[in-house]
């Protein structure tokens, strides 16, 4: 268990800059999710913390110790890979025991710790199997088990759930979170799935093209996105962006309004007019996709009780001014 500090960490591969300076202080036992679209540098950042990738500039500290030049094995971390990276020729037991054997932990203790982890992860019936004889979810658990038997100071996860089906993903998400809580280990978790980020994170780092656009608690980030990118990336369906001038926003270059903050009103009665393109009735709620007069796509989310407009009919859209999120020309929140 330890704190983790990144200080203006940068990374370039040859001439290409991939990470442009990320700083964050992670508290002991905190669950941090790094979220962002594909190619924004999430894995690279995580791999630098793991020591699998050299840091180009800046400092990484684990438990107050600078680890830039420390080998992965001496950083007191454990990592769960996207493809699990299990040792294919070893049994589940040996996969989990591998690190302990190398650390020359006495045999009875290895046995004890592996059994304990297997029990926690419901892997007991599979200890003698090879990884190829397991389902995706079970392999995932073995990878988790391998991480927890070593009792590391920091857990690193690189999209550990992306190879699982949707249902299992939801279940494992809860399990991982519960496990981390129970063990109280600091965790750094990479995902491109904003729902995963919202549900698991104590705080999240929203990455955009090698820059940490915003770092904060999920609900804070949701309510107060610092950039246009964050507003668009976090939340589903995504935030609507409207030309500032079209809605009389003086300073705002563009204005973001979340779908749930919009209401449909009669044509001409709201702040913006458009034509209902199509409606998705999801049961509890309905998503109405509107094409505004200026050609912008807008999504309105309304409760099931509200009348659903005819497709192709003229509608108006209205929202409270306090729910408006104005952004300047550079995409920064005003």
């Amino acid at each position: 268990m330890a704190t983790l500090t990144l200080e203006n960490v940068k990374k370039s591969f040859g001439k290409t800059d991939v990470i442009h300076g990320v700083s964050v202080d992670v508290q002991d036992g905190e669950f941090i999710v790094i979220v962002g679209p594909s190619g924004c540098g999430k894995s690279t950042l995580l791999r630098m913390v793991a020591g699998l990738e050299a840091v180009s500039s800046g400092d990484i500290q684990i438990g107050g110790r600078r680890v830039n030049d420390v080998e992965p094995m001496d950083r007191d971390i454990a990592m769960v890979f996207q493809n699990y990276a299990l040792y294919p020729h070893m049994s589940v037991f040996d996969n989990m025991a591998y690190g302990l054997k190398i650390a020359k932990v006495p045999k009875p203790e290895i046995e004890e710790r592996v059994r304990q982890a297997a029990k926690l992860l419901q892997l007991e019936p599979y200890l003698t199997r090879k990884p190829r004889e397991l389902s995706g979810g079970q392999r995932q658990r073995v990878a988790m088990g391998r991480a927890i038997v070593r009792k590391p100071a920091v857990f690193l996860f690189d999209e550990p759930l992306s190879n699982l089906d949707a249902k299992l993903r939801v279940q494992m998400r809860l399990e991982i979170k519960a496990l981390q809580r129970a063990l109280g280990v600091t965790a750094l978790y990479v995902t491109h799935d904003q729902v995963e980020a919202m549900t698991m994170a104590d705080r999240m780092i929203v990455m955009n093209g090698g820059v940490a656009d915003q770092i904060g608690a999920p609900l804070d980030v949701y309510a107060n996105p610092a950039t246009e990118f964050v507003a668009g990336f976090i939340g589903s369906p995504p935030t609507n962006f409207i030309d500032g001038a079209a809605v009389g926003q003086s300073g705002g270059h563009r204005v973001g309004v979340r779908p749930e903050h919009m209401q449909l009103v009669g044509a001409g009665a709201g702040r913006l007019d458009g034509r209902a393109a199509y409606c998705e009735a999801l049961g509890a709620e309905t998503l109405v996709h509107v094409k505004s007069a200026t050609g912008t796509q807008i999504t309105v989310r309304q409760d099931a009780g509200h009348p659903i407009p005819e497709e192709g009919s003229e509608v108006g859209m209205d929202w409270d001014r306090e729910n408006e999120m104005p952004f300047n020309a550079e995409g920064k929140r005003l």
Binding site: P72, I77, F81, Y87, P88, Y98, G99, I102
Partner: protein
């Protein structure tokens, strides 16, 4: 699932495999049959008549001190060629595998020796180690070492082993490199995080995962050393000195064509045929179940 193509009649498939069957018949079944037939006779010195001796040729061979010595020579030679060519290839492959950039260039350079015919390779090495004009033997002379593989049995063996292994290194290298690159990088990284340093990783992860490749190469290289090194031996030592480098294949040639003992030579061919069949069966049995971890 295997995808099977099925034909309606028998004639089209037969026609399609006919060329291969013809080639096999002319260049394999016919000579093999001849060898088996001839191994049962002793021809007279002028080749005018043949005398039936049954298994006499084989009995004679197996009690022949020189033939048994040739077996031992072949074993030593094959083991050395296999170890040297695979060892060096594995070493180079491990180095190239750690290289991210430029491994393509190394691969291309390292494949060249494979394109050199064994006899030519033999001549190249012979020139370098020629006792009078060879570059290497001259340098060895400067260092005070008197190189003479024409007289020294150990040196002769060493030279044919190196010359034979050299051409094989590139072939083995390609397979080892492919095998190494088939190991997911994340598995190696996971082991590194688990605390394994380079040698531990190699011993506990890389080597076991590479074992299918290693086994395949082992069989292929032994077959090579047994049968395809004739050119090297012929150009460098001609089996000498005192039969020190006369491996079984070479003995077939020297007894048959030089010594004109066709019956014995044919019997030796048959024995070799049996040996290569066994090796091939092992190889096929193995390749059938490729994954074994």
């Amino acid at each position: 699932m295997e995808k099977r193509v099925t034909f309606k009649g028998i004639w089209l498939p037969l026609l399609l495999v006919l060329p291969q069957i013809l080639i096999t018949a002319v260049f394999f079944f016919y000579p093999a049959g001849q060898a088996i037939w001839q191994s049962l006779f002793i021809p007279d010195p002028f080749g005018l008549s043949m005398q039936w001796v049954g298994l006499g040729n084989f009995e004679y061979l197996l009690s022949d001190r020189y033939y048994r010595a040739s077996f031992v020579t072949t074993a030593i030679f094959s083991i050395l060629v296999t170890l040297v060519s695979m060892g060096v290839a594995l070493y180079l492959a491990v180095l190239a595998d750690r290289l991210i950039k430029g491994s393509g260039a190394y691969r291309t350079l390292l494949i060249w020796p494979y394109a050199v015919a064994p006899a030519v390779a033999g001549v190249l090495w012979l020139f370098m180690f020629n006792t009078r004009v060879g570059v290497v033997s001259w340098y060895l002379g400067q260092l005070g070492y008197d190189w003479n593989h024409v007289l020294n049995e150990g040196e002769a063996m060493g030279l044919v082993v190196v010359a034979s292994a050299w051409g094989r290194i590139s072939y083995n290298f390609l397979f080892f490199l492919a095998g190494l690159q088939a190991i997911p990088r994340s598995v190696i990284e996971a082991a590194a995080i688990d605390g394994a340093r380079f040698w531990t990783r190699f011993r506990t992860i890389v080597w076991p995962l590479l074992s299918p490749t290693t086994f395949f190469l082992l069989v292929v290289n032994i077959i090579y050393a047994f049968f395809e090194t004739f050119g090297v031996i012929h150009t460098i030592t001609s089996g000498g000195p005192q039969q020190a480098t006369t491996i079984l294949v070479y003995k077939v040639y020297s007894d048959g064509f030089v010594g004109q003992d066709l019956g014995s030579s044919a019997a030796q061919s048959v024995i070799l045929l049996v040996v290569v069949s066994i090796l091939t069966i092992i190889q096929f049995k193995y390749i059938e179940r490729r994954v074994h971890y």
